[in-house]
Amino acid sequence: MSERLDVLILDDEPIVGKRLKPALAKIGCEVEIFVNSNEALDRINEKEFDIVVTDIRMENIDGLQVLEHVVKKSGRTKVIMLTGYAMMAVAREAMEKGAFDFIAKPFKPDDLRKIIAKAAKALGSPIDFNASDAGND
């Protein structure tokens, strides 16, 4: 087990954060959850996260804007996009803007954990993904 990953989850659906926080904590992530993109951006300005997970379709500032902001602020941070409105054009746009990965809702917690593990590997601090698998059995 390496050092903990700082993860920010932003989704205007409160349940997403509420349920993903314990799910990601199991694989060694320190998770902060937000439902409002403005507050999330403020926090991102304060602190450099390892991973930002954001919904795309949100009031005021959408996920793509958050993505641009994060990429501009810290090239190191991996941004994972979630959306219920998955379409090829949005997916390509997100990737072009520097997203690390893109996942369509609905997804299983394990799907996201796999992506987080991939991101951790890319960040140079691999995590023990099997920790969650143990709980899954």
């Binding site: 997403v16 219920g84 997804f107 917690p109 969650s132």
Partner: protein
């Protein structure tokens, strides 16, 4: 279920009302005395013929009168000739002492003429006149004859007697007096007859002229009558056609006292509008299904959010079931239940709208209707990344109408605005009192690409579309206009290319529900 049945009943009722109103119109149309154009035409031609006949009869009568006058003139002429001849012999006798028997013979002839034509003369002159004139002529002739007779008898015996000359002179004077009177009478008669003949001839001439003028006027009147009647019919049916084209399917009701061939046309049109309306209902429904199809994409995506919540929660519950306490379990299960409800709501909105229901008129609060419509379109708006705002001055009176159909109109306008707008733009919906009193206005304002000036006049035409092949039917606005027209309202548009468009729907406020209900039945 109960509600559905009631709805169905009411719909059926509406349908029967509609058929009944057409039946009522049919009865009213037929329940009039028939005065067909063909009958009128026959009537007029018969009248013209009668006038011509009358003129002809009068002319024939005049002709026979002229003939009679001529005959009388002939008689009087003969009479005058005979009397003149007699007088000539009489003159010769006094001058040269020639025979007087010839004069007597002429007198005899004259009397004969009068005798022979007595009845005729009586007819021509009339009884009283005949008595007066003829008797005076006859008495003159008789006197004359007696005098001639006396001359003939006295002459041979008293030629030498001195009294002879004086007697002869006496007789001569008397003879001349009677002869002159005779001639004068005959000539007077002739003059009178000529005068009367001249009058008759001029009457006949005038009759010709007057009958021609009368015929001309009469024919002009007939032409005007038919022309104006035909024209008024055609104008009437033109307005009917325009009315039907604008979506008002009120049956044609009688406007005149009599029925004619155009009544049959009106009946056929009433029948046609009934069928048109049935077809229109199909078009409205199929257009609604297209809107539903468009909305489905938005709904499918919107469903992903609750589905995701359920998926994550269920998986986490499964994963951590043993390590969590009962409260946490209940919290998670409640989340699943709530999210399921949310999914149901997302779908049921659309399903409610999609359900086929025939028109029913009710009191409607436009504010709620518009909010529901915005809700219905909200997924589509999210999908397109377009914001929508709804503002109202509030406290607007209710209107009466078919909520579903009006919702279809507003939804169509919103979806059109979405199509015209690009991502990040805003659509504004305003519910305000209209400029006209007793109307409310709903404005759908977008800041999209706008409508080019050269097509703005035709956007309400059926099958007009700016969308690509297979994307639009070109019926949306046309159907919307039909629906709004049925509610007694209007749709108008103002747009500047590149600056967006404003669609305004105005609808009448109705204070007396019964009135519009009744109108709706007639529609």
């Amino acid at each position: 279920m109960e509600n559905g049945k009631q709805k169905e009943l009411r719909t059926l009722e509406g349908h029967y009302d509609r058929i009944e109103s057409i039946e009522v119109a049919r009865k009213a149309l037929l329940d009039r005395k028939r005065m067909s154009m063909r009958f009128l035409m026959y009537l007029c031609f018969s009248l013209v013929f009668l006038i011509a006949l009358g003129t002809a009869v009068i002319l024939i009568i005049t002709n026979s009168r002229v003939e009679k006058k001529l005959r009388f003139l002939e008689i009087t002429n003969d009479l005058t000739v005979e009397i003149s001849q007699a007088r000539r012999f009489e003159k010769n006798f006094f001058l040269y002492g020639t025979n007087l028997n010839d004069a007597l013979e002429n007198i005899y002839h004259a009397k004969n003429i009068l005798d022979q034509n007595r009845s005729e003369l009586k007819k021509i002159l009339g009884k009283d006149e005949h008595e007066r004139i003829i008797s005076s002529i006859i008495s003159n002739i008789n006197h004359y004859e007696i005098l001639i007779d006396r001359l003939i008898k006295t002459e041979p015996s008293q030629m030498v007697s001195p009294k002879f000359h004086s007697t002869k002179k006496e007789i001569e004077a008397e003879l001349r007096k009677y002869g002159r009177e005779m001639i004068a009478f005959a000539q007077d008669l002739m003059k009178k007859e000529r005068e009367s003949l001249r009058r008759i001839l001029s009457l006949s001439r005038n009759l010709h002229i007057y009958s021609l003028i009368f015929l001309l006027i009469f024919l002009m009147f007939v032409a005007y009558l038919f022309g104006s009647r035909l024209l008024s019919h055609i104008n009437r049916f033109t307005t009917y056609a325009q009315r039907i084209a604008s979506g008002n399917f009120t049956p044609i009701t009688p406007t005149r006292r009599y029925r004619d061939e155009f009544t049959d046309l009106a009946l056929a049109i009433n029948q046609m509008t009934q069928e048109l309306e049935e077809h229109e209902a199909t078009i409205v429904q199929s257009h609604k299904m297209r809107a539903v199809g468009t909305l489905t994409a938005g709904v499918a995506h919107e469903l992903n959010n609750p589905l995701n919540n359920i998926t994550i929660t269920a998986h986490m519950l499964l994963e951590d079931y043993d390590t969590m306490n009962k409260d946490e379990h209940i919290d998670m299960i409640n989340d699943v239940i709530n999210e399921t409800d949310r999914s149901k709501k997302i779908i049921s909105n659309l399903l409610d709208f999609a359900r086929e229901s025939s028109s029913q008129v009710e009191s409607l609060g436009l504010e709620k209707l518009l909010r529901d419509t915005v809700d219905l379109a909200s997924n589509q708006l999210k999908l397109s990344g377009i914001k929508i705002s709804f503002q109202t001055t509030g406290n607007l009176p209710r209107i009466h109408g078919d909520g579903q159909q009006l919702q279809q109109v507003f939804l169509n306008l919103i979806l059109n605005a979405v199509d015209a707008s690009s991502k990040g733009k805003k659509i504004q919906i305003l519910l305000v009192p209209a400029d006209e009193p007793n109307y409310v206005a709903v404005k759908v304002i977008d800041t999209g690409k706008g409508i080019p000036e050269h097509i703005i006049g035709s956007i309400f035409d059926p099958f007009f579309t700016t969308k690509g092949k297979g994307k639009g039917t070109g019926l949306g606005l046309s159907v919307s206009q039909g629906i709004v027209g049925k509610h007694g309202g209007r749709i108008s548009v103002s747009s500047r290319e590149g600056a967006g468009a404003i669609f305004t729907v105005i609808l009448p406020i109705t204070t007396i529900p019964d009135k519009i209900m009744h109108q709706q039945v007639l529609l």
